[in-house]
Symmetry: C2
Subunit: 234 residues, 2 copies
DNA sequence: TCATGAATACTTGCCTGACAATTCTGCGCG
DNA sequence: CGCGCAGAATTGTCAGGCAAGTATTCATGA
């Protein structure tokens, strides 16, 4: 049958384009959590060789967007309560350091205010996914504004999992986007005032609320299975 | 032609063993900074197929232990002053969060005191590389003690680059290992006393000193070339 | 009927071999 | 002495294949 060759690839290098496309499909929830992603499936869907698909799955696994152990099929994970707490603990660690550094300088990254504007514009009429992306762009710009390549890299990985988790709760959004927009404003204000303590405190408040919303949704609906830690660190 | 097959592989899976071996050779400075690592070289040295070697280089590149852009050979990087500052900024971010969390609980991870004991034992007579490894084990245990998988993962990446940089200055060590041992003790003491502020303050002092030592050595000897940032973040 | 064990299909780990595209190197020419 | 160009070196991607491990199904025995 002709079950292959329907997902178009982006512009850049083949591996890169494949990676980006699969990544998007995962974080958008287009590929459901728990769904299995075999190498041959990716290979045939995109008309690429199996090694290429393999490399793609390995990259996604390294980023935490897929889980797999040896000789087993990769599945997109569904984070349980503990995992979400761990994720947000790490996220707070990175972003607190970022806003503190920014506030110490007292300069707000231009990209952050741009993202914030886009967020407000998307608040009323745009699709949920657009709001999520605007929110992520804001936090991403905040960290990028520090100018630390390594901090940004760590944050990128974390935001990947955050995006994934938010995408999985897409259907039942209960958040008012204007609320988070106001919280964003408060953070920017504190940075502008060169007040590191306040900036950190407001960021923590913001993230704690987001975490609570996620965990609340998780408890309400599919409490489902919590996967065990896949690997005991030596 | 018997020009191949001289580096023995470890016990585990082939890819894993290959990765570990090459990683060790890099962080130990056995492969000099600036040296080029081609896929075929690795493949022939270890008697593995080129795709296997390729995967290995890709993993090391993702960890920051190698640098390469498309179609160019991977080289082991030599961190410049700015890079070292960035590295230690990220390191402080992660480790400060770790010791604060530990101090809030008031419990010292047993693995950390074990590593600390090993460090003191190695202080006088053992080789420099053993001291470095004991030091790294101590900080690693500190972060692992928090129990956050994601924090540990971030830290692991950072320590990889730290290890690499320390290994490159192997010859000209000027540090008295007992000094750093005492600083470690002070950190543990603050954690035990459940004093997060003190723990963070002492950790910062410890890391700042280490950073200054590294930068001092860098300035003294090969100021050399500082490689430009390989990629402009979007 | 239900539980247990064996055979089969599926999937991944790793290999050989090959071709195209790109980058690097050295040589000759203006 | 600078410049461009051909050849070499290196990587990106593919095809095909075998071995090994995992999951599933089916048949057999209690």
């Amino acid at each position: 049958m002709d079950s292959q060759g329907s997902f178009p690839l982006g512009p850049s290098s083949l591996t890169e384009a494949l990676y980006e496309s699969v990544r998007k499909r995962i974080v958008n929830g287009e590929i459901a959590p728990g769904e299995k992603l075999t190498e041959v499936r990716i290979a045939s869907e995109y008309n690429v060789a199996r090694p290429t698909a393999k490399a793609c799955l390995e990259r996604l696994t390294a980023l935490g967007l897929l889980r797999r152990s040896v000789h087993k099929t990769a599945v997109v994970p569904k984070l349980g309560e503990d995992e979400i707490r761990d994720l947000y603990f790490s996220r707070e660690t990175v972003e607190r350091a970022a806003v503190a550094a920014l506030a110490r300088r007292g300069v707000v990254p231009p990209a952050a205010v741009r993202a914030q504007a886009a967020m407000k514009a998307a608040a009323t009429d745009m699709a949920f996914e657009s709001q999520v992306e605007a929110d992520i762009a804001f936090h991403s710009a905040l960290v990028a504004g520090v100018g630390s390549r390594r901090l940004s890299r760590m944050h990128e990985v974390i935001l990947g999992e955050v995006h994934l988790t938010m995408g999985q709760f897409q259907a039942h959004r209960t958040t008012h986007p204007m609320n988070v927009a106001h919280e964003h404003d408060a953070i920017l204000k504190a940075i502008e005032d060169a007040d590191p303590e306040a900036a950190q405190q407001r960021l923590t408040h913001h993230l704690d609320q987001a975490q609570d919303r996620l965990i609340g949704q998780l408890r309400r609906e599919g409490g489902a299975v919590e996967e065990p830690p896949e690997e005991a660190p030596a």
